[in-house]
Symmetry: C2
Subunit: 226 residues, 2 copies
């Protein structure tokens, strides 16, 4: 890790929550340079310190504002609650051109969080696409995993479906899925994001109905190519 310019750098916007910290932990551990972003740079710095402490300090995680994080990184992951989705994207969109945006958002509408309710665009990821424009590749991923497990090195018994605006962008994000120790699948074009976002509501409902806390999915009957 001597030449950080050769590393892929990843921004995690809204990265002070459980999801964001879990992903930061796994990617930093895998050797990526991770920038945790938040509306408050101070909070981002605290979250980055937490993650660095877990990693025993030998990996590259820092904290800054969402805007700076988006500027510094080649791949920008957004993990904010849906209520802050549009505003966050608007605030960073000028920094996203030519990059890949990974949308982790699930458009849950409380209190009926186990009922699929999508925005007019069709899904949060398609809405993101409308906001950031065609100069940005947009992918959707990581909606269905149990983020608590990311922070404790546990095997996460859930596959990650990756949709996106190009095959190349999806392949790039599947590499990140694997770097985080998970199994990723190309789930097709961005129009398919409704399935992976909506699956979160189905899994919340299954947890409630069957008394589980971490329902997930696995793809069966197919092998990933090397």
């Amino acid at each position: 890790m001597t030449d950080s310019s050769l590393q892929t750098s990843i921004a995690i916007l809204g990265g002070t929550g459980k999801e964001g910290k879990g992903l930061a932990y796994r990617w930093a551990k895998a050797g990526y340079q991770v920038h945790i972003g938040s509306r408050s740079a101070d909070k981002a710095i605290i979250a980055a310190n937490d993650v660095r402490e877990m990693l025993k300090g030998e990996n590259s995680v820092d904290g800054m504002s969402n805007l700076e994080a988006a500027r510094e990184a080649g791949i920008v992951v957004i993990t904010v609650p849906y209520a802050a989705h549009r505003e966050t994207l608007e605030s960073v969109k000028d920094e996203l051109k030519g990059k890949i945006l990974v949308d982790v958002t699930v458009p849950l509408v409380p209190p009926k969080v186990s009922t699929v309710q999508m925005p007019v665009a069709g899904s949060a990821a398609q809405e993101a696409r409308e906001i950031v424009g065609v100069d940005v590749q947009v992918c959707a991923a990581f909606q269905n995993i149990s983020h608590e497990h990311l922070l404790d090195d546990a095997d996460v018994e859930c596959d990650v479906l990756v949709t996106g605006t190009s095959k190349e962008a999806r392949a790039e994000i599947i590499k990140l899925v694997e770097a985080a120790g998970l199994r990723g699948w190309d789930a097709g074009p961005i129009e398919n994001s409704v399935v992976i976002e909506g699956l979160t509501s189905v899994l919340i409902g299954i947890n409630k109905k069957y008394g589980s806390t971490h329902a997930g999915i696995k793809i069966t009957g197919a092998q990933r190519k090397a």
Copy 2:
């Protein structure tokens, strides 16, 4: 099987295709009285004969028109291609009052069958609900299973997600899933049907991308209650 009035009877509209015959085979084997329906009663009779032959004749499967099949059964399953969905439902809706309709339809739009493209109602099952009215419980199920495997007694490595207009209807259909030798999950209200219908496009895309033929899904991290 002496008193057929005590058995639950199931109609399978459009039941002359692979899906329909596979389901007819499994349910008849489990002791249900199965009526295969088709636009052509003759074709339905031939399909019923095929299934009876596989079952060595000791089970109850017969063939008739879609309308007669819907009239005879307490649970009506529709397995027609999406292009025939509305017309078939219009033709039988007067026979459905007080019953459960199970929609297996996936609203694929050729040639882009691996892209999710839903009707205005939100999903085929919600469209069915609009057509048949509120006196019918509507469920969606069986969209993601490999129907070829139903006919050869193989273990099907795919769970069945069941959405529907009431908890009671979903529970009833989960019993049918289990009778067919599959694992069923309550996937919530009818609004969630977009996930299970759309998942079929995702799985078609995975088959194409990864060279598989029977990609499916399993729910992980949860146990079904007894």
